[in-house]
Each structure stands twice: as structure tokens, then as C-alpha cells.
Assembly symmetry: C2
């Protein structure tokens, strides 16, 4: 039973019901529910829903669209959707690129831009300055499409203290305890900019916008290998807050030294650079090296085949161990693991069969359809979720009394 | 704010408050709270607490004890404690022994008995028959001490379906999909007998009765190596329900075949038998072999030292990987890892330092003080927790109308 408050009284119940209705609209997604459908779905009266929707429309978070439902004629009905004129900027700093994406409240990527950038060993200030240029592109795109930016999410390949905007450790960038000021990237955005881990953001992007199941392990393949664990449609953070560090599972006790200070980590065999090196791909831009690797694989070159085989084998070991420990039954591969897809898969499946027979079904190992935009979507999506959970503060001032 | 219902009305609120008061008594433990202290701690009125306590005393779950508090003179005050005259039987089937323990509601192990038994490859019926003999000993002990048995918990070294009483897989016993009837071990006990995994039970035993912190990884060292993950003072079961299989984390890709069908698992290096074999300890009873191993270590025999060094090294790798994946910052070692304690520790710490420097502090690695009784306490404790959560059904019939 949902408690109902008198319309117009902005109390706790009304705050909660605003979020409930907004969440229902978000979950219904492309179905664009009517007020009557929202009332049926939430247990609220139609009168209460109408009043709540009026506030949400006035706040700019929800938009009405005319649409014909099955078999309807005459005047179109009114469907509701999260506004396409409110947006959040997802941003990503990675080892060899920077990226931004403008995501509207409905989760549509309206604009994106990626530049290659050698960020390893660069000072955070310099990287943030370059990222600010990209953020300006997103702002210009938003202005051109008349989208108001509510906030932003910035993902980095490392452990972060989200509350204090500190990158605790991003070994592949050579950053340790770096204080960032992500809010400066989007001056004036009411929700500011939140910092998050890249693999966690990509996992959430997969959950919310990539059709991910309620429980899965997302594997992020960049220069580093990261992981994001989704359990019960929530990010599993672990007691210390930084769970999912799949790239630093030890897969060979005599393996090479790792950027984390350890040795034999998955990343040393299956990270992007580890594969390029093992495959004998010369240095150059990420795009170029990827092309060369795929060409070498297509040509059946044995060094490339070996490198990808090893990466698949060690990824299989790490997934076997992860599945044993967390009893996770589905895996989504992203980043270069998605790009290498079918080249990687035979060795990965053979490894799982050898080290943990029967534990993970081949069909439970899928490749993300979002590719590199998963991180941007997830970084933005965390801010969109916070809007859905607290729409109250976007109400017109007259309702905030 | 706690809702309060009129005393005597056995509704949902009263059921919840019965549990609340019982839980407060359980948590206060040795302090034996007074009614006034319970009222202060729960937010209920003293009148409500008195009425609830009266029912709990009448049900036999709570007992009053006279005690002098600080500086009090004259007539002793009345303290409350979980009754020592209600008990639960913890039982354990392991690869080379069977054990039972009678645990009173306060968590005191009032009687225990262990027999060596070669259970590997034995039919479940034969093992259960032998265990029934031990359960009878526990019943006799309960009768002698005037303890009423409310139920029992049976722990096995394998994956279980707790609802259906099925051992899904216990490779070290050679059991696969075996239907058990644990309830037959304690005919007439009102709560029956629940089946659980051995390492999970031991982890819960450590949490409830061993002073374990709210977040830790418990490592069970028996013939098999198991794990139990406690997060937020709850057992972490994972999406599939069988999380914590630490023994089957792959620690060496060229390691030996494992009973699980995989290869290179931690258990193949750090399980009890693996250590005995590597140390050159001849076959025999578990107790005898353990004595021989400890004597060989004390004498500085290099094979024994190597075996324990390797076990510590590979345990360190598995803990490094686990801590990376789940971000768990404390580890409690049980079973033979507790027995080997100081012999194992140097190699374990060196391994953690090599593979995950700085991740786990040495002082966060502790040894269980409960040793083998942790599993019995945890198996029984799960039933005790269910009593605390639903004391209602133990109320006298007149209150159940």
C-alpha cells in the first residue's frame, strides 16, 4: 500500500511519490506510459498521478508526447517520457583517450566525442584542461539542441573516493591520491560532476542501457583490465568500496610485474598493451594498433593468434576464480574484449572448461553492444539515477515552500 | 519510532516486538539486561517490554537471573538472558570426521563429540546412520542437563540446496545431487534440521560467537578448502547462492587436477591432504598426521617446511585475488590454517606482499579462536537466529489465538 498525501503538500510522502512516478516512467522506457497506466503501476490514484505528473512536467524532467496506442483513432493519447531536453554529460579519462557524451534523461547518447590522448604520466591538471575542451563541445552540442545540462559524471581507470573527488590510485595513469575538481568541467550545472570508476560506470551503463541482466560481472578491457559487479541490479562495491578489481586477480604466480605493484595479474596478460606487445604490434595510435592486430588475426599470423589465445586463457582463469568466489553466473565483455570478440572466445571457453568445468554456460558469456560508450552512458546514468531518486529539487520554486 | 501495540494482541506488531526484544537480549550477551535497559534500547515502553518479556519467559526462550549491578546492595536485580535450557544441535559431516555439538540459545557449547570417520566415497545413508549415533549422544546430554532441543543444523563440505536438503556437489565426499533427510536426526525437534555449507557455517560461527568483525573472509581449512564471506554482518551468498568457494580459485595455471574437475585450484596446494602429501607425512588418522606434521616442522624438516611454505604462498595468492575482487579487508583463518598458524604465516604474508602489496594489513589476518567448533556453533547458530527472528511460534498456545 502506497501512502497518499494531499496534492500540493510538499512533504516526504509527496517527495517519495514524485520519485516513484518518475521511476515508473523511466522503467517503462519506450512504452511512454499514460497517466492511467502509471496509476495502475504505482497504486496511486489517477488524481494523485495527474498532480505529480503536472509538477514533473513543469520541472522539465518529464515531457508529454502524443501517440496512438493499439487501434486508437482520432486525437492521439498523451504518453509520458523522460525529457529529451534535459541532459547529463558523461566524461571519461582513460590511458590513451578522453571522451565525452551528452546523454538525455531517457538514456539516449545525443552527442559524443573522443580524442586520443597519451595520459599516462601526465599531470591531472593538464588532462583536466584538455577534457574541459571536450566538455565545451558537449555544452555547445547541448545548446544547439536546446538541452539543459543538469550535471555530469566523470569516469577514470582507477580507485576513487567519490565523495571527496580523489583518485586514490590509477596505476596506469601513474596517479596516486590526486585531488580533482570535476565540477569545474560543467560550471553552473545544478548537480555538479561526480567522479566514478570506469569499469563500475561501464557495468552500470550495461545494466541500465545495454540490456544487462540483474546479476553479472562486467569486464572492462582497456589498457587496464577492470571489472564491475552487478548484483540484484545494483553495483556491488564490497566492504571497502572498491570491489571488482578483476584485472588484478593473479592468474600466474610467475607472471610479469604489474603496474599495481603485484605480479602475474590478469592485466599483464590480457590488457590492451600486453596483447599488442605479445602480438608484436608496433607502437602507434590505439585505433591503428587495433586495426593491425585484427588484420594480423585475420591473416592467421601466429604471434597475434598466440597473444589473443593467451589473453583468452588467462581471462578464463580469472572468470573461473571470480565465479567460484562470488557465484556470478553471467559475464559481459566490454572494451577490447568486445572488439576481439570471436578471436578471443575459443580460448576463453576452453580455459573455463579446463579450470571450472560446467560453472559458466557459454551462452552466459556475452559481448557488450555498447562498446566504448558504455562508460559514458554509465557515468551519466549515475547522475540520471540521482535525478530520478530526488526529482524534488527540480520543482519550480513556487512548489518548494 | 517503533510502533506499539496493546499488550496481549498477538498481531504483526507484537510479533515484531517479541523478536526485537529477544534480539536485544541476544546482542547484549553477557550483560544480561534489565527490563528498563531493554526499554531504553528498543524505544518500547517499560510496560510493553514487561509484557513481551513475560511471554518470552513463559515460552522458555528467555530466563531471569538475579544479579547485582555495579554498587547495588540488598535484593539482586533481575537480568534477562537467552535460556540455557533450550538448545540446538550443530552437526558436521566432513571428509574424515563427524561431529556434533549441543549449543544453548546463549551460544554456549554445552556438549560436543567428534569421531574420525573415512566418509569419502561412503554412501550418504551410511554416513547419516553413523551421524545419528552421535546425534543420540547429544540428545542424551541434553536430557541429562534438562535442555529442550529446538532444532538442529547440519553442515557439509559442499554446495547445498538448503531448501530441498540436497547436497548438490561435495567432491571430496564424492557426493553429487544427494538427497538427505537431516530432520530424521532429531525427530520431534520443532524446528527440524537445516542443511548448510561447512565454510559458510564456520564463517557465521566466527561472526556470532568468535568476535569476527562485520566484514571478513573466513577461510576453512579441512581436506577441502572453503570460504565464507561476511559482509555487513550477513553471509554473502552471491547471485547463485553458493559464493565463497575460495578453495577453487585457480592459483597456478599448470597446477594439478582438482576434485572439482578443474586444475590448479588453491585446494590442490593448501588442502589438508595436499599438505600432508607434499610434506611426506604417511597415511593415518587426521590427528596422528597433524601431530607428525607439526613435529616435522618443529624439527625443521625441509619437506614439511616446503609444503607449508607453498600452502601459505598459494593461500596468499587466493587471498590477494579475493581481496581485489570483493574489496574485503579482513581475513579469519580456520581449520588446519589455524592449527598451522605461525608456521604458515611468514609465507602467507610474503605472498600477499608480492602479489598485492599494501592490500591487506598483516594485523587484518587473524586466526579463529573457535577452531573446529566454529562450524558446529555456526550450524546451530543459524537455527538460533531463526528462533530470534520468529519467537512467536514458541509462545504458549493460549497466546496464539
Amino acid at each position: 500500500m502506497i501512502e497518499q498525501a494531499a496534492p500540493g503538500r510538499v512533504g516526504d510522502v509527496r517527495r517519495r511519490n514524485l520519485s516513484l512516478v518518475l521511476d515508473s516512467i523511466a522503467r517503462t522506457g519506450h512504452a511512454k506510459p499514460s497517466r492511467a497506466q502509471l496509476a495502475a503501476g504505482t497504486g496511486l490514484t489517477k488524481a494523485a498521478v495527474s498532480s505529480l505528473v503536472a509538477d514533473l512536467v513543469e520541472s522539465g524532467l518529464v515531457a508529454e508526447v502524443g501517440l496512438y496506442r493499439d487501434g486508437e483513432r482520432g486525437r492521439p493519447g498523451q504518453g509520458l517520457e523522460l525529457s529529451s531536453r534535459r541532459g547529463v554529460v558523461g566524461m571519461e579519462i582513460n590511458v590513451d583517450y578522453l571522451a565525452v557524451g551528452l546523454v538525455d534523461l531517457g538514456g539516449n547518447l545525443r552527442f559524443s566525442s573522443t580524442v586520443e590522448s597519451r595520459n599516462r604520466g601526465m599531470k591531472p591538471d593538464a588532462v583536466m584542461k584538455q577534457l574541459a575542451g571536450l566538455a565545451d563541445e558537449a555544452k555547445a552540442a547541448a545548446a544547439a539542441e536546446d538541452i539543459a545540462i543538469l550535471g555530469g559524471g566523470l569516469a577514470v581507470p582507477g580507485l576513487v573516493d567519490e565523495k571527496r573527488n580523489v583518485v586514490l590510485s590509477a596505476p596506469n595513469l601513474h596517479w596516486e591520491h590526486e585531488q580533482l575538481e570535476p565540477g569545474a568541467l560543467l560550471e553552473g550545472a545544478p548537480l555538479g560532476v561526480t567522479l566514478s570508476n570506469e569499469a563500475n560506470s561501464a557495468a552500470l551503463g550495461e545494466l541500465w542501457y545495454g540490456g544487462g541482466p540483474p546479476d553479472f560481472l562486467y569486464v572492462s578491457g582497456e589498457v587496464g583490465v577492470g571489472g564491475g559487479v552487478i548484483i540484484g541490479s545494483e553495483l556491488f562495491r564490497g566492504p571497502g568500496g572498491s570491489a571488482g578489481e578483476l584485472g588484478h586477480i593473479v592468474v600466474h604466480p610467475e607472471g610479469p610485474a604489474c603496474s599495481c605493484g603485484g605480479a602475474g595479474c590478469l592485466e599483464t596478460f590480457a590488457g590492451q598493451e600486453a596483447i599488442f606487445e605479445a602480438a608484436g604490434i608496433p607502437g602507434g595510435s590505439l585505433g591503428r594498433r587495433t586495426e593491425l592486430l585484427l588484420a594480423a588475426l585475420a591473416a592467421g599470423e601466429s604471434r597475434a593468434a598466440h597473444a589473443v589465445h593467451d589473453a583468452g586463457r588467462y581471462l578464463g582463469i580469472a572468470l573461473a576464480s571470480s565465479a567460484r568466489l562470488m557465484d556470478i553466473e553471467a559475464v559481459v565483455l566490454g572494451g577490447h574484449f568486445a572488439v576481439l570478440g570471436e578471436w578471443l572466445r575459443p580460448a576463453l571457453l576452453a580455459s573455463l572448461e579446463r579450470y571450472a568445468p560446467g560453472l559458466l554456460e557459454p551462452e552466459s558469456l556475452t559481448v557488450s553492444g555498447l562498446e566504448h560508450s558504455g562508460t559514458l552512458l554509465g557515468a551519466a546514468g549515475q547522475v540520471i539515477r540521482s535525478v530520478i531518486e530526488s526529482p524534488f529539487e527540480f520543482l519550480p520554486a513556487s512548489k518548494l515552500a
